[in-house]
Amino acid sequence: MHSIAVERVSKTWNGVAAVEDVSFTVEAGDLVALLGPSGCGKSTTLRLIAGLDAPTAGRIVIAGREVTGLPPARRGIAMVFQSYALFPHLSVAENILFGLKVRKVPRAERDGRLAKAAETLGLAPLLDRRPSQLSGGQQQRVALARALVAEASVCLMDEPLSNLDAQLRLEMRREIRALQQRLGMTMIYVTHDQVEAMTMADRVILMRGGRIEQNATPAELYDRPSSAFAARFVGTPPMNVVPATALAGRDWALPDAAAGGLGSLSVGVRPEAVRLDPAGLPAEIVAAEYLGADTLIETRLGGVPFVARTAGRIGMKAGETIHLAWSAGDAHWFDRASERRIA
């Protein structure tokens, strides 16, 4: 059963489309990440699902019930905001219980749910504090607790970790994922951080310019990006996408698809798939970045940057020439004009 279905939803602001003809489904118990650069429409999509904005066209179905015209409170969802949206004058406990009090949940049950959520997220010693007396990570937990006590089956998250430092982000990422799986929540998670999307999500929906670029599992997104944009957006450092003409005359690198001519194609190779091979393409080193476990060697191929990732430390400096090669299966071929994948 689909827990959430978004059907041909569009949203325009004064004639400018923020979200255009977006459709996808989320299975019950899945975590789906909406990924994309800023302004791609991912947050707008989430707000449309939450009911904070109304779509210009299309339908939204949650748990088999159409909710397109319903106010947020009647959609059976919980949400965590990027800024946490904690009430600054209320204590942690009052913040967490705000919704339950509004909904007139009996006191005994309220206290039970509060105790459970506080224990789950380690907030018990902080219940009497004000949000301003908490660290960023603790505020994040309070926002999470407020979403948990609602006991909604669907939870929406709008870049919940973007205000935390890197170390904390890593911890919270794991914690949120563990919590989501333990409680069997259906979650839509908006992020611009591809690492978050790849590590946490069951499916990743990559958006660009208000449309869905690719809707796939993290592995699929990495292994078979449907466009040059998806190829570059996922993976660090990003995939090298160069004009195919740079490979002219190198038969080992050319597939059958290239028979029609190289001029209309580009080829993508992940830095980690590149190896140094005396029979490969010669390229001059522009810079070498030593990261510890491996080294990123930046070169130029066909006039654009091309990065190779090699294990350990290499004893070469800028200006020297190396030879680049990869297996034919690691090359991704895209149409140059449309950027779509062709093989």
């Binding site: 409170a73 705000f98 509004v102």
Partner: protein, 292 residues
């Protein structure tokens, strides 16, 4: 050591111009009033002399003083809650995305930029017997004619209404600014939890506006004891002292009866009352206010 001294001198010199003006026109007159309140009013044949608390004893026995005090308390109790309540209501209203929002904000603020004398004249016309606006409306509805400013029962209420009308727009601006400072995601979070507009106001907006309310309240109290222009224009304290407020009475005693020492004593009492009110507000209310 020397440079510290010269820095201190430098600092005091910078403060001097403002300090001189403050001392000459605020501090010195205040102290002089206090001193004068213990002396008799100088007359051509009888120079001023120390009379102790005679002026204050006279005050206790003065029925017009007591009437002015009671009038002023009633005026304050009428204007303060009404003006603040109205200001809050208008601010919440024009803070939402409504059509014609800018126009509404401007309209609400207009009374503030008008001088009180002009406002009083406008309302004088509203209240005028026989052909005033209010009379025309009541006559059209077939209600009996009434002299709003001329009768003891309604005069104070009538001038109270003018002050509310004049002040609410000013206070609204402070509330509006504070409301704009409240993150809109709080409203969204509350909406997700199912809070109604009223619940959101009561549980979130109003508590977060408390610092503004305290500020506005102190201003409203001071204004309630300071406003005198519209009394001079509209009623001159009448009929039968029904609209005589404390400051108006001070003015009357000082500049109509020229009993300056008694006026000084009245001023001191007024100042002490205001100081006590401000202290109570800061001391008691501030502890219940959430500052971000």
């Amino acid at each position: 050591m020397k440079s510290r001294l010269s820095a201190a001198v430098h600092g005091w010199l910078l403060l001097l111009p403002a300090m001189a003006l403050l001392v000459a026109f605020t501090h010195w007159p205040a102290v002089a009033s206090l001193v004068e309140s213990f002396t008799s009013t100088p007359r051509p044949r009888r120079p001023s002399r120390f009379v102790g608390v005679a002026n204050y004893e006279q005050m206790l026995a003065d029925p017009v003083f007591w009437q002015s005090l009671v009038n002023n308390l009633r005026f304050a109790l009428g204007t303060i809650p009404l003006a603040i309540g109205l200001a809050l209501l208008m601010a919440v209203w024009v803070n939402d995305r409504i059509p014609g929002r800018t126009f509404a904000r401007m309209a609400y603020f207009t009374p503030t930029i008008l001088p009180m004398i002009a406002v009083a004249n406008i309302w004088l016309f509203f209240y005028t017997p026989q052909y005033g606006l209010l009379e025309q409306v009541t006559a059209a509805l077939g209600l009996p004619s009434h002299n709003w400013l001329g009768s003891r029962e309604t005069a104070l209420a009538a001038v109270t209404l003018v002050a509310v009308w004049k002040e609410a727009g000013f206070f609204m601006i402070f509330y509006l600014a504070a409301l704009q400072g409240i993150s809109p995601t709080l409203a969204e979070a509350a909406a997700l939890e199912g809070a109604s507009r009223w619940t959101f106001f009561r549980r979130v907006q109003f508590p977060l506006l408390m610092p503004t309310t305290l500020f506005v309240l102190i201003n409203a109290v001071i204004n309630a004891f300071r406003t005198v222009d519209h009394i001079i224009v509209m009623t001159r304290g009448g009929p039968d002292n029904a609209t005589s407020l404390l400051l108006f009475y001070v003015y009357q005693v000082g500049f109509n009866f020229w009993d300056t020492s008694y006026a000084a004593a009245l001023t001191v009492v007024l100042l002490v009352m205001l100081a006590v009110a401000a202290l109570v507000q800061y001391g008691w209310l501030e502890r219940r206010v959430h500052y971000r």
